[in-house]
């Protein structure tokens, strides 16, 4: 299973890539594997404000449904509309083409509580 070095991770199995004050969010390789074939993705609207810890979307497979939690607070500035038509992209490319939303951080300094790759790997193995 693949967990890129440059990303941060959450206990809900989201990944975050922070560049300046923009965070890109998706679900991890582990999460997509657990869900199985993703069949539907629900995303927020551009302009929505999300709070860290609140759900902002849903990922569904044939047999499971999973809420996706915002790891950070801020305004949604872009969503990956390709996922609406091709939800399987999350399975095929969780860290790249399968990104879900971009959030403009309201408090960029508040990024605590996120795991680096080694702690996440440990977390997944323990699970």
């Amino acid at each position: 299973m693949d967990f890129p070095e440059e990303l941060k991770y959450t206990e809900e199995h989201e990944w975050i890539l922070v560049e300046d004050d923009i965070a890109t969010v998706g679900i991890t390789d582990f999460a997509q594997d657990q869900l199985g074939d993703v069949v539907f993705v629900e995303l927020p609207e551009v302009g929505d404000n999300v709070e860290a810890g609140e759900t902002f979307g849903v990922v569904e497979s044939v047999k499971a449904v999973s809420d996706v939690y915002a790891p950070v607070s801020g305004e949604v500035i872009e969503i990956n509309e390709d996922l609406l038509d091709e939800p399987e992209t999350i399975n095929n490319s969780p860290y790249d083409a399968g990104w879900m939303v971009k959030i403009k951080l309201s408090a960029p300094e508040l990024l605590e509580g996120l795991m680096d790759v080694s702690s996440y790997q440990e977390f997944v193995e323990k699970d």
Binding site: G36, D37, V39, F40, E60, S61, V62, K63, P87, E88
Partner: protein
């Protein structure tokens, strides 16, 4: 899509719409005996676009062919856990088709349909005797509507006592309808972990004055009798709550234990499980609800009663939760269930329970050496194995699909959620030792195949109408109706 080649007698059959030929008819109508008038053209439609045009022969052959792709209890062993797929006696079908039952209109004055009301009254009484509840409604259309009815009555009772409680406790082994029905009745769900059997301590830890009810299934979905149930009921009652029991597994208890005697306040029945009415490929079910005396005023409308003048539908019940559906429950299903009770008699019902439990334990004994049994406690009418120990990354799904090639309907799989890769087997009492032996032989052979030739499992089924179907594709680009090209 054109019909492709058939495979022997596994016939191919196009959709109704694909077979339609303009001008072909399958009906007959008497010549009009009144002047034919038509409504204002501004209100009428031209035609029903795409609707089929077929002869009677077309239609008969279509559905006959479709039926051959199905597997029913009459086709063979159907050990679907928690679904109680017992034999559906044919005399019940004949009974339900008596013209005096089928051809009666629900708005006919009650005095003119005393037979139907008497049947419902008697069935209420018999279900009350089997379950130990003094009051009963036959209204709910299915088990899930029964749960909803029960939870509404609990809500109404608390409300009448001036209480506003917001929560319902449900064990993690519960069927998904329990939380869904509770939510619909306006409750928040608190999940409690049960390690096989629910303990009084586990309930005590979450029980407080905001809890309206505890909702249990007894025996639970692992086939285990909730041994602490009396103490648990006492505890919930002491804190002002009520106890709801899901009666899905009543087939393990008839003549042995009555929920109404041991502290349960409300329970629904599944007549299509315990009382042999056919599942019909998904329904109609029927979900009567029995309650203790104090909940009687809240029963849904109407209630069948009897007085000196005969049987009546009573609507004058000011505390009732109201109406659940258009008329009086699934009457046709009630007739079948009553016919079953009459055929079995009191002793026969108890014997059914005993043999159902014998069959399940026999399967357990025969398979336990090979399949992993996570819970070793004495189980009743069903047994749940896990997929642990299957070789070569074969999963429960593969075992289930391979059983199809052996000519069986698979057991319930991946439920309850607390068992890893659950394989939940409920044989019921109507299966013989020979049938069960052959089934166990098949499952043991499959475990061997998993070791020696796992592809046989992973490619299964190969002997059904279709091979494994692409479920993700169906969900990604839903095609939920036929459309002309």
């Amino acid at each position: 899509m054109m019909s492709t080649e058939g495979r022997g007698l596994v016939l191919e059959e196009n959709l109704l719409f694909e077979q339609s030929q303009p001008g072909r008819v399958g009906y007959s109508l008497a010549a009009p005996d009144v002047p034919m008038t038509v409504p204002d053209a501004a209100l009428t439609r031209t035609e029903i676009q795409g609707f089929p045009e077929l002869s009677e022969v077309d239609v008969v052959r279509h559905y006959t062919r479709l039926s051959t792709w199905n597997y029913g209890v009459d086709s063979g062993f159907y050990p679907l856990g928690s679904c109680t797929m017992k034999y559906n006696p044919k005399v019940n079908e004949a009974a339900a088709r008596l013209p005096g039952f089928t051809d009666i209109h629900p708005q006919t004055p009650e005095a003119l349909n005393q037979g139907a009301l008497e049947l419902m009254y008697n069935l209420q009484r018999d279900l009350g005797e089997i379950s130990g509840f003094p009051a009963m409604t036959l209204q709910p259309a299915a088990g899930a509507q029964g749960e909803f009815t029960g939870m509404l009555m609990i809500h109404a009772w608390h409300e009448a006592n001036g209480q506003k409680r917001r929560k319902v406790i449900i064990p993690d082994t519960a069927h998904g309808t329990n939380p869904a029905s509770s939510a619909l009745a306006g409750y928040e769900v608190v999940t409690v972990a049960s390690n096989g059997i629910l303990t009084k301590e586990a309930v005590a830890a979450v029980m407080d004055d905001d809890v309206a009810a505890l909702m249990v299934t007894n025996p639970n979905t692992l086939g285990l009798f909730e041994a602490d149930i009396r103490g648990i009921c006492d505890l919930v009652h002491e804190r002002g709550g009520l106890v709801y029991s899901d009666g899905a597994n009543l087939n393990a208890l008839m003549g042995i234990s009555r929920p109404g005697d041991i502290g349960i306040d409300v329970m629904h029945f599944n007549l299509h499980k315990t009382f042999s009415t056919p599942h019909g490929g998904g329904g109609p079910g029927s979900g009567p609800v029995g309650v203790v005396e104090k909940l009687k005023p809240f029963l849904p409308l109407p209630v069948v009663t009897k007085d000196a003048d005969g049987y009546k539908l009573d609507y004058d019940r000011p505390q009732s939760i109201g109406r659940l559906k258009s008329f009086y429950g699934h009457f046709g299903v009630l007739v079948r269930a009553y016919s079953y009770i009459l055929s079995m008699g009191g002793e026969g019902l108890k014997r059914a329970t005993e043999l159902a439990v014998l069959n399940a334990n026999y399967i357990r004994a025969r398979l336990e050496p090979v399949y992993t049994l996570p819970n070793k406690q004495r189980s009743l009418h069903e047994v749940v194995f896990s997929e642990d120990g299957l070789q070569n990354e074969c999963h429960t799904l593969d075992v289930a699909k391979r059983l199809i090639d052996y000519g069986y309907h698979p057991p319930t799989i991946y439920f309850p959620l607390v068992v890893h890769g659950a394989l939940m087997i409920e044989p019921t009492e109507t299966e013989s030792k020979q049938t069960i032996d052959e089934f166990c032989d098949a499952l043991l052979a499959i475990a061997e195949e998993a070791k020696d030739n796992p592809e046989l499992l992973k490619q299964a089924p190969v002997r059904a109408k279709v091979k494994r179907l692409h479920e993700a594709m169906a969900a990604r680009k839903p095609k939920l109706r036929w459309e002309s090209e």
